[in-house]
């Protein structure tokens, strides 16, 4: 475990602010940047890095979702169904993270980042939006006002088993690697389940609080969450994400996806390099 100094606290606060603003800009959590920084940059054990990151993931989920309630962008019914799967995955991941060696976790992180990057790049042009507002959204579908196109967007949820499976894997990866898991389920919900990017992202961000909490409780109980560093990271991410949010709202979906994929490829290469060293 790292030795806590005021300088380290400041570094982590700053890293949190940068990760939070990048995360908000790209429409994903800051975890995907924070974990590699803490693990590769500062040599934290992956479990300690994941624990701190999960704390920031919970904070981001709660504050972002609080601001979005009432706008119909969060599909709460769908979210609550998928949470059953993410929390199960997360519970399993939190327990297995205690027994897996660090290099295995790093390889998994590398694979996860690469897989998500490929999914994103292969589905750049897809929108999956039904612009006819008379379409019945069904039991789990939804409709919302899309600021980008200025239309009411209606969608149905397709391939529910795929959505549940993706959520389980996302929950599992979330606890194991300290990311929100949105990087896994948002592309899948968008590409294969017919959910528009913004609704998928908002619903995912809403679910992630529960997912990350299931995993974070385990790390906290095992003494792997360093309170003062978690506080620095959480406050940094809160500050950074509120700054990044202003730009994120104006950025186009295609640009978001391309940037997200580029960052993930770099993270993947770095994780493999460290694990196989």
């Amino acid at each position: 475990m790292p030795v806590v100094t005021p300088l380290l606290t400041l570094i982590i606060f700053t890293a949190g602010a940068i990760a939070g603003s990048l995360g908000a800009l790209l429409g994903i959590g800051g975890g995907i940047f924070l974990v590699p920084f803490l693990n590769l940059g500062l040599n934290f054990p992956l479990q300690a890095a994941a624990a701190i990151s999960l704390a920031t993931v919970i904070a981001t989920s709660s504050s972002v979702s609080a601001g979005r309630t009432g706008k119909q962008l969060i599909n709460m019914r769908l979210g609550m169904v998928l949470e059953v799967a993410t929390a199960a995955g997360s519970l399993l991941g939190g327990v297995t993270a205690q027994v897996l060696p660090q290099t295995t976790l790093q390889l998994m992180f590398g694979v996860m980042a690469a897989v998500v990057a490929v999914i994103m790049l292969s589905r750049l042009g897809r929108r999956n939006v039904l612009l006819d507002p008379s379409i019945d959204p069904g039991m789990l579908g939804g409709r919302f006002h899309d600021a980008e196109s200025g239309c009411m967007v209606t969608y149905r949820v397709k391939r529910m088993p795929v959505a549940l499976f993706a959520s389980f894997i996302a929950g599992n990866v979330s606890s194991l690697l300290g990311v929100g898991g949105g990087v896994i389920k948002v592309p899948i919900l968008n590409s294969w389940c017919g959910i528009p990017m913004r609704a998928a992202a908002a619903t995912s961000a809403f679910m992630i609080g529960v997912t990350a909490t299931t995993g974070a409780i385990i790390y906290y109980g095992h003494g792997q969450l360093i309170p003062v560093l978690a506080a620095a990271a959480v406050l940094g991410v809160q500050l950074g994400s509120s700054a990044g949010m202003h730009f994120g709202a104006r950025a186009s979906t295609k640009w978001l996806k391309m940037m997200m994929a580029g960052v993930l490829i770099v993270v993947s290469v770095l994780m493999f390099a460290r694990a196989l060293r």
């Binding site: 606290t9 709660s62 504050s63 309630t69 609550m80 929390a87 519970l91 609080g209 529960v210 095992h222």
Partner: protein
């Protein structure tokens, strides 16, 4: 579930999340500042902040269960109850593997 109840649940959840975020952010900020001055109370505030952070999503699930039960939406009451059980599973795993 009717549209009115749906927006009611969204409103309650929004409120729970805001209170949770405010409590944890203030406690963590106090704890962090106190830790830089070396005050002994810092640990207490840091742990309160982290616990508030962890409790917020749990509270959100609890109010959802209450709303679905009130609304007699048994499918969703059961689904959210399973989520709560999974969160409890995390707590058990946390306490069980603990190095005392």
């Amino acid at each position: 579930m009717s549209v009115t109840n749906l927006s009611r649940l969204e409103r309650i959840i929004g409120y729970v999340l805001r209170v949770g975020v405010a409590t944890s952010t203030i406690s963590l900020a106090l704890g962090l500042l106190l830790s830089l001055t070396g005050a002994a109370a810092s640990t207490l505030f840091l742990h309160i902040g982290i616990i508030a952070l962890l409790v917020t999503p749990v509270a959100r699930v609890c109010v959802s269960i209450a709303e679905y039960v009130t609304d007699r939406d048994w499918t969703f009451a059961l689904l959210t109850l399973i989520v709560l059980a999974e969160l409890a599973g995390g707590l058990i795993a946390a306490l069980y593997g603990r190095k005392a």
